[in-house]
């Protein structure tokens, strides 16, 4: 019954989305304006129904109801609680239901909380949101029904892919989806504003918090996903340029550009048409990403299944939504008035440069990700990996970050070059010192990471410069937010550059009792023993590690064997120190009784994710600061 109730809830939500769309259509075109009063409640109830459907799916997983096909295919009764719970979205159908749930929740959130947008634009926005939802409900109901029954019921489930059996699964996909799909609000706002021809600062101020929320979630999701891949896959890498990673990076790049251009629109009434374009592009990238991941057209860890019908279904949805929005944009962009002007040397100028470079990087990642699809259609197979992506995006990202250091030091509208040079003197000096230090102490570093460290040092100093001579307690939240986020970029960049230039690797076949060195550590291979977990067995090595004269500590990497489905995984053991991580992996035994050990010393690698966290925190501070400031302004107006 639970499965049927879930399916019914999904159908009801589908019907409500249709109702929402029709209400907006009739209310806005005819003289039936009274219909619009029902739009907000319908959007909220629609959100509740999808959440109910999603909760029921989780319940089915928790009960291990093997008469439901999805549960039987992806779960197992002996699985720990958390993986039964999170396993609900560790598969195609469940993750699509999560996707749609976030979409409907985002719409419900706008219906509940958005008070500043002009009413016609808000209605058009909710209509657009419902229209997007319709397509994805249809995809779920007709091509990916998560509640389908299995007859006869399976005696036992086939289990969850062991690579996914990690606490990361409970956290990473939901945060990522909140960001990814949360961008649908920006898309719908843009469509709404194009329909009512209402693109201006008020629209930008209304849209900004929603973009910020989605962007913060997306940033957390990507950062968490990167760390998860780093420790779970046992390859010691933190970014693989896997199509699925690119699928989350592309919306992030577009959303980051949008976040900056929407500020120009809100503050200075500039970049009107461009901001609307970016809002459309950002969620379009989310949909393209969904297509890449869910259609299984690309080889990837995340490709659960290859199913051509699903691929063409999503492709059709893409064509309708992206094509429709672009067509609307083409028709209406002429009626969007020019914004106010600015000098090339100004805050706006720097933000335009930011937007252009982010767009260029987005374009490069997009082409690299899709190139294998294009060539496959032409009859030959290629794979595009780190050599391409690092080569083309690295240098541009460096320029972008350098401009990011200077941008906040510029005045709005018009500034002079000379004072800017003065303001940048100290950061440039710091960069120069970093350059000399690196050339002296690490002469063999590659050029790109070397430049990365040099730029990061100067940009870190420039990032905090906006706080100079300010009363820190009275500095508004959004200034703090910007400073911390920009500093986070520099911190993250130091981590990336240090990891790529200073990592030490030792790969050996070791006998029990032997010692190996990696970087400043001496690692002794003490013993190996079998152990058992809730649904796996493992061989666990005991490594005793000493750094210099320090206190010894123990690391225990494992090679795990799962029975359902039968799979082996490597569980790396990682020791985190202030200045980096020691990463150890246990490999296979050879004929002479030696065990393969892979040891990495990765100096400062943790800064990558610390920086990611700072970027997200900056977004959050900025959001809180904006909301508080506006509430205060609102109160002041009310009392006046």
């Amino acid at each position: 019954m639970i499965a049927e109730a879930g399916l019914a809830a999904l159908w009801l939500a589908f019907a409500l989305a249709a109702l929402q769309f029709v209400l907006v259509l009739l209310g806005m075109t005819g003289n039936r304006g009274e219909l619009l009063g029902a739009v907000r409640p319908v959007a909220v109830v629609q959100g509740l129904f999808v959440c109910a459907a999603f909760a029921l799916l989780i319940w089915l997983f928790l009960r291990s109801d093997m008469s439901v096909k999805l549960v039987a295919m992806n779960s197992h009764s002996a699985k720990p609680f958390i993986y039964k719970f999170a396993g609900a979205w560790g598969n195609h159908e469940g993750s699509m239901l999560l996707w749609v749930a976030v979409l409907a929740l985002a719409g419900a959130g706008v219906a509940l909380f958005e008070r500043r947008l002009e009413r016609p634009t808000l209605m058009a926005t909710l209509g657009a949101q419902a229209f997007i939802a319709l397509g994805f409900y249809a995809f779920l109901l007709f091509a990916s029904n998560p509640f389908a029954r299995l007859s006869p019921a399976a005696a036992e489930g086939q289990g969850l892919n062991p690579l996914l059996q990690d606490p990361g699964l409970a956290f990473h996909p939901p945060t990522l989806y909140f960001g990814y799909v949360g961008l649908s609000i920006a898309f719908s706002f843009a469509v709404g504003a194009l329909i009512t021809r209402d693109v201006g600062p008020a629209f930008a101020r209304a849209m900004r918090p929603w973009v910020l929320i989605a962007w913060v979630f997306l940033t957390i999701g990507i950062t968490a996903g990167s760390y998860w891949a780093y420790y779970e896959l046992g390859w010691g890498g933190w970014w693989f340029w896997d199509p699925v990673e690119n699928a989350s990076l592309m919306p992030w790049l577009a959303a980051t550009a949008l976040l900056h251009s929407v500020t120009v629109l809100a503050t200075r009434d500039g970049l009107r048409a461009w901001t609307v374009m970016l809002a459309v592009v950002a969620f379009s990238m989310s949909m393209v990403g969904t297509f890449l991941v869910r259609s299984g057209v690309l080889t990837s860890v995340h490709a659960f299944a290859v199913d051509p019908t699903r691929g063409s279904f999503i492709l059709a949805l893409l064509a309708i939504y992206i094509g429709g929005a672009m067509a609307l944009y083409g028709l209406r962009v002429g009626t969007v008035k020019e914004g106010s002007q600015f000098d090339p040397v100004s805050r706006e100028g720097a933000l335009v440069a930011n937007n252009l470079l982010l767009s260029v990087i987005l374009c490069l990642v997009f082409l690299g990700t899709l190139y294998p699809l294009i060539t496959e259609a032409l009859g030959f197979k290629v794979s595009v990996g780190p050599p391409y992506f690092n080569l083309v995006t690295g240098p541009i990202a460096l320029i972008l970050v350098a401009i990011m250091g200077a941008g906040p030091l510029l005045k709005w509208r018009r500034d002079e070059l000379k004072p800017l040079v003065n303001r940048l003197a100290l950061p440039v000096l710091i960069s120069a010192i970093a350059l000399f230090a690196l050339v002296a102490f690490a002469p063999r570093a590659h050029i790109l990471p070397l430049l990365g460290l040099v730029v990061a040092a100067g940009v870190a100093a420039a990032s905090v410069a906006p706080l100079w001579k300010r009363n820190l307690r009275r500095t508004p939240g959004f200034v703090w937010g910007m400073v911390i986020a920009h500093l986070g970029i520099a911190v993250s960049m130091v981590g990336m550059a240090a990891e790529s230039s200073f990592t030490k690797e030792t790969l050996v076949a070791a006998r029990l009792g032997e010692s190996e060195t990696v970087g400043p550590f001496t690692v002794r291979f003490d013993k190996i023993e079998p152990i058992a977990g809730p649904n796996w067995t493992a061989l666990e090595a005991t490594l005793t590690v000493v750094r210099g004269d320090g206190k010894p500590f123990v690391l225990k990497p494992q090679a795990r064997m799962f029975s359902s489905p039968p799979t082996e995984t490597n569980e790396a053991a990682i020791a985190t120190r202030i200045d980096g991580q020691l990463y150890t992996v246990l490999g296979k035994e050879d004929e002479q009784g030696r065990w393969q050990l892979r040891l990495w010393w990765k100096p400062w690698v943790t800064l990558i994710w610390l920086g990611g966290g700072m970027i997200a925190l900056g977004g959050l501070l900025s959001l809180v600061g904006r909301v508080r400031r506006e509430r205060r302004a609102h109160d002041r107006k009310a009392y006046a």
Binding site: W274, G296, E338, L367, G368, P565, N570, E591
Partner: protein, 143 residues
């Protein structure tokens, strides 16, 4: 009139940036994209030594051997038509085994041995990289 002018300039700059990005991507992709070959195709196409490619096939039965250092592994990849010797230094993926699909990333050396920097195997019992699946279908090794 001036505002319109600035807007036009910005639009042109944006267009130029995107065209530039596309051109950059095209030229970089030509050099950096790794072509995918099955052992038979690689033999036929006579891939030049040093060119980065991906080689996908089945790990030949009885071909896996280790060098005395314990961390270098040698095996042969086959697609039923041809067989290529592969050398790899590192820890092979968990699902790497005889008679099972694998993709090796790397390049041929002068002697015709494929030196892999990375080995990809299918991720679980149900999953096979589409690239391998496609080639296996062609040679009839997999239904």
């Amino acid at each position: 009139m001036k505002a319109k002018h600035q807007r036009l300039t910005l639009a042109l700059v944006a267009l130029a940036a995107l065209i530039g990005a596309t051109l950059l991507a095209m030229s970089a992709l030509k050099d950096q994209a790794a072509y995918f070959y099955s052992p038979g195709d690689a033999k036929k196409a006579n891939v030049a030594p040093g060119q980065a490619i991906r080689l996908g096939g089945m790990v030949e039965k009885g071909s896996i051997a280790r060098d005395p250092d314990g961390v270098t592994i040698r095996f042969a990849l086959t697609d039923g038509r041809a067989s290529v010797p592969v050398r790899f230094k590192g820890i092979v993926p968990d699902l790497f085994k005889e008679d099972s699909g694998a993709v090796a990333e790397g390049r041929f050396d002068a002697s015709g041995t494929f030196v892999a920097d990375n080995i990809l195997a299918k991720h679980d019992e149900r999953y096979m990289p589409p690239q391998i699946a496609g080639d296996m279908h062609k040679t009839g090794r997999v239904e």
